[in-house]
């Protein structure tokens, strides 16, 4: 039986443990943060009104999950949670590159030609991954994280359920729907390796019992994804890639810096303002 660490004070006593924990928390927080933002850009643009209600609810939950992880970082002495969310530069972010890509051409305000197929694929595949990750995090040696995982997982259940409906209906459709879904799967597959990556501290993260070993997690993920493709009668695409860089190592695209600028526009106009 592995020893449990029950408080931030206790975690801070062991330098190696703390470093690995902090890296993992940044990955979890930054992933949820940027995808919740991308999702929120769909507000008012989703295919129908019911989707608009559901999608914004999911984004609000996801942003709440990011806030929870940032507050765990705050407890460990990393700084104010709001600042961790808003004022870290792109190179300090540890989110997977797949999650930072724009939704399509145009912007929220001008000619938003967003890609719904890519959105469904990205959210469904991310949420499936996240559900599996949360299951593993429930066993984490860091108790505050294990407890947060239990709570987040209960909400994640409904997110997966929501995206599964879109995924299955569009993939089982004929003609354009299925073709566009296949193309979106291809795009996601080029980058999914960067989502699965535990980053440069992967070995330490697993050694400290913070989450299941990366190799084992990937095996579980592959088995689960195999069933997903089977359910819509599509071939499993084989090994996935990391074409645009490893976000876990701070490699990012311009899409992320632009998103962070947009997000922080009001904040940076007067950082001293009291809200």
């Amino acid at each position: 039986m592995e020893q449990k660490i029950t408080s931030p004070q206790e975690a801070n006593l062991n330098r190696g443990y703390r470093d690995a924990l902090v890296q993992l928390l940044y990955q979890l927080a930054d992933d949820d943060f940027i995808l919740a933002y991308r999702g929120a850009e769909w507000l008012g643009l989703a295919p129908h009104i019911e989707e608009d209600v559901a999608f914004s609810s999911i984004n609000q939950n996801t942003m709440g999950h990011a806030a929870m992880y940032y507050s765990l970082l705050e407890e460990l002495g990393e700084g104010d949670a709001d600042l961790l969310a808003h004022s870290r530069k792109a190179e300090a972010r540890r989110n997977a590159v797949l999650l930072e890509f724009v939704n399509g051409t145009g912007t929220y305000l001008e000619e938003p030609r967003f890609d719904w197929a890519f959105t469904v694929i990205r959210h469904y595949f991310y949420d499936l991954y996240k559900k599996m990750k949360l299951e593993a995090l429930k066993q984490s040696s860091y108790e505050p994280l294990a407890q947060a995982a239990v709570n987040i997982n209960m909400e994640q259940y409904y997110h997966v359920m929501h995206w599964r409906v879109w995924f299955e209906q569009l993939c089982r459709g004929k003609g354009e729907a299925r073709e566009r879904m296949a193309a979106a799967i291809g795009r996601a597959w080029d980058e999914l390796d960067g989502l699965l990556s535990y980053g440069p501290c992967g070995k330490e993260i697993a050694e400290h019992g913070l989450v299941q070993e990366e190799v084992l997690f990937r095996k579980r993920w592959e088995a689960e994804m195999g069933k997903v493709f089977e359910s819509v009668d599509m071939p499993f695409p084989g090994p996935c890639g990391m074409k645009s860089g490893n976000g876990r190592a701070g490699e990012h695209t311009e899409d992320l810096s632009i998103a962070l600028e947009t997000l922080g526009e009001v904040y940076y106009s007067d950082p001293q303002a009291a809200w």
Binding site: A67, Q147, A148
Partner: protein, 169 residues
């Protein structure tokens, strides 16, 4: 020692009465107590400690609820300080809602959360107006994070239901 404990118990009882008056900001007919959000109330020395559970992780109303609890309990005799904190453990699950809470949700037009059965992923919801279970889910997600939008095919009314939330999920 015994005298102190008895006094402590009286204070806790009074605190519970007052907590019954603290309502959910989004469902004003139901109290935080009936929703199962209060995990513990205890007295140490002259400090009253309340441990509350958020109903979902990113709840934006937490500060507001905390303030309401704080204000409701301040000024209780025998107490100098009130401490309210939100805990992540145990997880809040929808089976924590009391029988009274479930009835009051119905009065507000919200069907109480059905029991979640592991593995089936199925749940039946009764219409809060006519009681029929001939209902369909229009949208899993509704106006707040814990509610879904349903439609009663028997009395032809749209209604909301609280989703089951379980750590078996």
């Amino acid at each position: 020692m015994k005298a102190v404990n008895i006094m402590g118990k009286q204070i806790v009882d009074l605190a519970m009465e007052r907590l019954q008056e603290v309502k959910d900001p989004e469902i004003p007919s139901v109290s935080v107590l009936e929703l199962g959000m209060i995990q513990s109330v205890s007295v140490t020395e002259r400090t009253l400690c309340v441990q509350a559970l958020p109903t979902f992780v990113g709840c934006p109303a937490l500060d507001f609820i905390k303030k309401n609890i704080q204000e409701a309990l301040e000024g209780l005799s025998g107490i100098d300080e009130v401490k309210v904190e939100f805990a992540q453990h145990p997880p809040w699950t929808s089976d924590r809602i009391s029988e009274e809470g479930r009835e009051k949700l119905k009065e507000f037009g919200i069907a109480p959360p059905p029991v979640f059965h592991e593995g089936e992923g199925m749940w039946a919801v009764e219409c809060p107006y006519c009681g029929s279970d001939y209902t369909t889910v229009e949208n899993l997600f509704g106006p707040t994070a814990c509610r879904s939008i349903l439609y009663c095919k028997a009395c032809k009314n749209p209604f909301e239901a609280m989703r089951p939330v379980s750590d078996l999920m």
